[in-house]
């Protein structure tokens, strides 16, 4: 059974929610990324989204874009990222891992080759943020032929009939984008967010994860009842950006402390 499916069914039976941090691979380097993956899981995260750096990420705000630029400037390559994941698996890591990857990179590698290599490394699923459902047919078919999941996105600008169509071809979990816009921390989240997720919940049996803009334990606490999982990206990546010059142990501990706060906020009062 796929690790993503196992995770959500286990959490559901316990009435718990998933914390899903996002980390940019290779920022500041892959050794630190590997240490961060292990640390966030130790601190209460359930699944890690690993961002594959891309030169032109149009869905990403300044924090994640800059992290991609830093990683690429330091020579981060896809093969090295997959080797890092393989090593984490060899060391006994059992939590689900998902790559967030632009279709530009998947296409260049070749769809089948990308999926085979990711699967062999121990990846459980992928999010391709620039591949809308119309363009995804081929990828969906190839993903379904393997023990992989394709997590697709529904946004506040997605019409309802389209959201249902997206849900039908999604596997693993459905990613609800909280705001119409790019990734990045936000002070306020939209007032109709909980309502929109509740509607979506009535349309699909898939677990629903909410992401984009979730930046604090307060947000996590507020949204946890509405979703099956929460994704926190920029708020973590910004801490890594700020801690670039710190010793690895200090940076990893600092990010771990923040994830502990988020994990604590996940629990109901």
């Amino acid at each position: 059974m796929n690790r993503i499916d196992t995770l959500f069914s286990r959490l559901k039976s316990r009435g718990e929610k998933a914390l899903m941090p996002f980390l940019t691979a290779g920022d500041p380097n892959l050794e630190t990324t590997a240490a961060l993956v292990a640390e966030v899981l130790r601190r209460g995260a359930h699944l890690v989204e690993i961002g594959v750096p891309y030169s032109d990420p149009i869905a990403d705000g300044p924090v994640i874009s800059a992290s991609y630029t830093r990683a690429l400037d330091r020579g981060c390559k896809l093969t090295d990222i997959l080797n890092m994941i393989k090593k984490l698996r060899d060391d006994g890591l059992t939590a689900p891992l998902v790559t967030m990857v632009s279709y530009a990179i998947v296409h260049r590698r070749g769809v089948d080759r990308y999926l085979d290599e990711a699967l062999a490394a121990g990846v459980d699923g992928l999010i391709v943020p620039d591949l809308p459902v119309e363009e995804a047919a081929r990828l969906i078919e190839r993903v379904q032929a393997r023990d992989l999941r394709l997590i697709q996105l529904v946004t506040p600008t997605t019409p309802r009939d389209r959201a249902v169509r997206i849900a039908r071809s999604t596997t693993g979990f459905l990613y609800y984008v909280s705001v119409a816009g790019i990734t990045g921390e936000r002070r306020e989240l939209p007032s109709d967010l909980v309502e929109n997720v509740a509607w979506l919940r009535g349309q699909t049996d898939l677990p629903i994860g909410i992401g984009f803009g979730i930046s604090s334990p307060e947000h996590v606490h507020l949204l946890a009842p509405a979703a099956d999982g929460l994704i926190v990206g920029s708020a973590i990546v910004r801490r890594i950006a700020d801690g670039q010059d710190k010793p690895r142990e200090a940076l990893v501990r600092e990010v771990g402390d923040f994830v502990s706060e988020l994990a604590a906020a996940l629990r109901p009062d």
Partner: protein
């Protein structure tokens, strides 16, 4: 990648998914899909609406100054000593380039859709100026994204955009050129599409942009075809245009694509030479990939990361190209060649001295290619070169390169 074969007449593309053979499509975040669908529907209505078309033609005639002349460049032709070169004078349009044809069309479409704000990316600044102009004309708020390197190279256009009331936002990411400005404009649109129309400036981006921009620019080719028949007495033997994103080329080529006897030739920026990073020749040196929302030829590395590019000309300094050009390349309908910085500069001086016309550096690539084609075709033949823009904006950069800075 299997070679694209045209299964239908070339003018019938794209299909409903925005595909030109295997190229095109929509590779953008879900957040933008609804806005793209709305635009596709609004454009189909506008295209079929005689009132929209007649208003557009009114603005093209009375505001832009269309039709632009087709000018027989006798002394330039004599210099080459081959075929007769005719220049399609888009440089004589209001704002000095072909970009205004599309900017007015798209801003009219935005008004029709009830949008109140316009955003755009610009490289050389010609599309930025055209968009700022159209926004002033229609009374819409305007924000232009422009790379810092291009702002340095194109100060005059930046000054003019601001004078017309546009906000020019400097982009300091990446190479600080057109590609980065396009990323920023798309990011803005991710959060603003309910009120804002993104007036993309070339035949690039997700469907329906490549189709809409091509359609608005096709006025160039329709006029040139008619003018050639009137003035030369027949269709030209060849049509030449420069290709960055490829909008003036798509506009002049499209009405000729089913005229099998007319050779179509696109001139890309060959920069300082064929080493990756030294040029912007996506079609002649790149490979199929995804950039800025469509599948097309891209200059990229083995991992799918977009490569650095170089061109003397800010308007051609772009690592991608419109998907229809990729399709025309794969079907063999259009031949694409690279013109180096040095060749473009030489053509710039030739046209200035032989005809008293200062071409934009972008258009100088087409002039250089046109001179080569004229020599190859020989006497008794005729070709049309799209002179897509005028060179005023480039005077500062050329003077600087000559070591005689103007400011």
């Amino acid at each position: 990648m299997t070679a694209a074969v045209a299964e239908r007449p070339l003018t019938s593309y794209p299909d409903e998914l925005g595909r030109f053979g295997c190229f095109g499509g929509r590779f953008v975040p879900e957040t933008l899909i609804d806005a793209l669908n709305q635009m596709t529907a609004a454009y189909a209505e506008a295209k079929a609406d005689p009132a929209f078309q007649s208003e557009l033609e009114h603005h093209w005639k009375h505001y832009v100054g269309r039709p632009s002349p087709l000018f027989r460049a006798g002394r330039l032709s004599a210099l080459v000593g081959g075929a007769e070169i005719h220049l399609k004078r888009e440089d004589l349009n209001h704002t000095g380039a072909h970009k205004i044809n599309n900017a007015i069309g798209q801003v009219m479409l935005a008004v029709r859709m009830g949008k109140t704000r316009i955003i755009a990316e610009t490289g050389a600044g010609q599309h930025g100026v055209a968009t700022a102009t159209a926004c002033a004309l229609f009374g819409l708020e305007c924000t232009i994204y422009m790379g810092e390197e291009d702002i340095r190279r194109q100060k005059l256009n930046v000054f003019n955009m601001r004078t017309m009331g546009a906000t020019v936002v400097p982009v300091n990411a990446g190479s600080r050129t057109l590609r980065d400005a396009t990323n920023e404009a798309m990011r803005d649109w991710m959060g603003s599409s309910r009120t804002t129309h993104y007036t993309i400036g070339s035949v690039v981006g997700p469907h329906p942009f490549p189709m809409i921009v091509r359609d608005f620019q096709s006025v160039i080719g329709r006029e040139a075809r008619r003018q050639a028949i009137e003035q030369i007495g027949r269709l030209p033997d060849a049509v030449v245009a420069c290709v960055g994103g490829g909008s003036n080329a798509a506009g002049i080529f499209h009405p000729f694509v089913e005229d099998d006897a007319v050779e179509l030739i696109g001139a890309e920026a060959g920069g300082r030479g064929p080493t990756l990073g030294e040029h912007a020749s996506s079609l002649t040196q790149g490979s199929p990939g995804v950039l800025h929302g469509s599948l097309s030829y891209v200059l990229q590395d083995d991992e799918g990361q977009t490569s650095a590019v170089h061109s003397l000309s800010a308007g051609l300094d772009y690592p991608g190209v419109g998907p229809e050009h990729s399709f025309w390349k794969e079907t063999g309908r259009v031949r694409y060649e690279a013109i180096t910085d040095a060749e473009a500069l030489e053509a710039y001086y030739s046209l200035a001295r032989r005809e008293g016309i200062l071409p934009a550096l972008e258009s100088s690539h087409a002039v250089a290619q046109g001179m080569k084609e004229a020599a190859r075709l020989g006497k008794g033949r005729a070709l049309v070169v799209c002179l897509s823009g005028r060179g005023d904006k480039d005077a500062y950069e050329i003077a600087r390169l000559r070591g005689e800075p103007l400011v």
